[in-house]
């Protein structure tokens, strides 16, 4: 068992960097290391590299190059989108609409805007599959609404939200619409015009680029005050010397992801469906979380009655499978997941969650292996548990 490679099924957390991406980045560390703001040739070379990256990413998502801002990560992109629009529009109104299933980068920013800056936040509900009803968004709009933010796909349960419909509503009412596409980037097609989004967050390390680089699409004309000030980089909207090699790497990675999407997405979907079927079939009391079909191609997530999510992860780790749990118990926070709670999965049931997110290196054998090792793990943990699965599932 110890000679076996780790079966990595946590691609929603992060992905390995594609060797082709590393190769594209390398010259920008030691040879073309100029500061893009410098006038000499070394600087111009670096400038050309980021502008080419900007062009690449813009084309891939149907945007114009000057609408792409480079940031340090998805969290920064979300922060800049929310705070930037809120600050710029504060005299127009102080109402923001979002959902209870957003990433903390969105929810904690909203909470701060509410607590410290007098904004009012409306959280439109989600149904038991984690879907937002666009009609609820429409009903929540007031004259004071200055921003709507709904994620493209959820990290914990994989559900894909009806972004185009919500965008249509926002467009009709003239309200800027932000979507956190950190999970969707490279996995779902993105066309900012078809989706009617005005701001869209991306994070490189979710699509085989390194950690530490992200992007924010900002449609021309969208009010946005910079939250990081200094030099005039990124069209005066995000100061700071550009992270040239990482920006180059992110563009390369997104290009590769979309070049192979037509084969890769159906392949992942087949593996995912096999995994879902197998788990539901072999583990009594297992329940899929998130929408059955309207979900990320490689994303499978479950709750199991009677067991704690972290305990499952530890046993899987011993079996050389890397996965994650939606229950925050595994991280520094404790207690059931707010995302599952918003979907009506409450209490102890929400503590026994497992997320298996597939990616490029995963094979059919990997899926079969997990389907072999997981059921006895759940069974063993249930033996330790004072809660019988039936009671826990009720």
């Amino acid at each position: 068992m110890s000679t076996r490679r780790v079966i990595y099924m946590d691609h929603s957390a992060t992905t390995p960097v594609d060797p082709r991406v590393v190769e594209a980045m390398l010259p920008y560390f030691t040879e073309r290391y100029g500061n893009p703001s410098s006038v000499y040739r070394l600087g111009a070379e670096a400038r050309a590299a980021i502008e080419a990256a900007r062009q690449t990413i813009a084309e891939l998502i149907g945007a114009r190059p000057k609408e792409i801002l480079f940031t340090s990560c998805g969290t920064e992109s979300d922060n800049l989108a929310l705070r930037g629009v809120a600050w710029a529009s504060r005299h127009k109104g102080r109402h923001i609409i979002t959902t209870p299933i957003e990433h903390h980068a969105v929810t904690h920013t909203c909470e701060q805007l509410e607590r410290e800056f007098g904004f009012r936040i409306t959280y439109v509900p989600v149904d038991r599959d984690g879907l937002v009803d666009p009609e609820d968004v429409a009903r929540a709009i007031t004259d004071e609404t200055i921003l709507i933010s709904v994620m493209y796909a959820n990290n914990e349960v994989g559900t894909i939200e009806p972004i185009a419909e919500i965008g249509q509503i926002a467009r009709e009412r003239g309200i800027p619409f932000h979507t956190d596409a950190v999970q969707a980037g490279g996995q779902l097609p993105i066309d900012v015009d078809a989706l009617h989004v005005d701001l869209l967050s991306l994070s490189g390390h979710k699509f085989y680029a390194p950690k530490g680089v992200g992007a924010l699409y900002v449609r021309e004309g969208t009010p946005l005050l910079p939250t990081q000030t200094g030099g005039g980089q990124e069209f005066h909207r995000r100061a700071g010397t550009e992270n040239v090699p990482y920006i180059v790497g992110m563009a390369k990675a997104l290009e590769l992801a979309y070049a192979s999407l037509d084969e890769e997405a159906p392949r992942l979907q087949r593996l995912r469906d096999r995994l879902i079927e197998g788990v539901l079939e072999r583990i009594p009391g297992a329940r899929l979380t998130g929408h059955r079909t309207q979900r990320l191609p490689g994303h499978a997530s479950f709750v199991f009655g009677g067991v704690d999510g972290e305990a499952i992860l530890m046993y899987l780790d011993r079996a050389n499978v890397a996965a994650s749990t939606g229950s925050a118990c595994a991280s520094s926070e404790s207690g059931p997941s707010p995302v599952l709670e918003a979907m009506g999965i409450t209490g102890r049931q929400a503590l026994g969650s497992l997320r298996l997110s597939l990616g490029r290196e995963n094979t059919e054998e990997d899926v079969e292996y997990v389907l072999r090792v997981l059921p006895p793990i759940i069974e063993k943990l249930r033996e330790f548990s004072p809660i019988c699965p039936d009671a826990a599932l009720r």
Binding site: D308, A311, E333, S334, L351, F384, P386
Partner: protein, 137 residues
């Protein structure tokens, strides 16, 4: 994040299960995370003759209850009552966010002892006894 000793207890927890007609029993829930644990005691004379537990919780909670059960089995009631969550957390090297998991194990033990004392008030160690044994916590 976990030391090998936690993994070891977690993979092979000691004293998992139930005792029919226990002398002391408690089910306790953590106010921090919602996880829960139950402890069964069989008491002979002033000794804990047997202990079994079941845990719905994380690796640290399972390891804490396993270690505590190992320490307690065969001890006198007074000795068992002295064991603290700090001792468990220290032995297991639990990180800060996992301290409440050892608290869960020890509060379940205390609650199970309380359950026994309710029916056997004479068995409750007196304050003087506890003080004599240095329990000034």
């Amino acid at each position: 994040m976990y030391k090998e000793i936690v993994i070891e207890h977690f993979m092979n927890p000691r004293n998992v299960g139930v005792i029919e007609n226990p002398d002391g029993y408690a089910q306790v829930e953590s106010s921090v995370c919602g996880d829960m644990m139950e402890i069964y005691l069989r008491i002979e004379g002033d000794r804990i003759a047997d202990i079994k537990f079941r845990t719905f919780g994380c690796a640290a909670a399972i390891a804490s209850s396993s270690l505590a059960s190992e320490w307690i089995k065969g001890k006198t009631i007074a000795e068992a009552a002295q064991i603290t969550d700090e001792q468990i957390a220290e032995e297991l090297g639990l990180p800060e966010p996992k301290l409440h998991c050892s608290v869960l194990a020890i509060s379940a033990l205390h609650a199970a002892l309380e359950d026994y004392f309710k029916r056997h008030p004479e068995a409750r160690p007196s304050i003087a006894d506890a003080a004599a044994q240095g329990n000034d916590a």
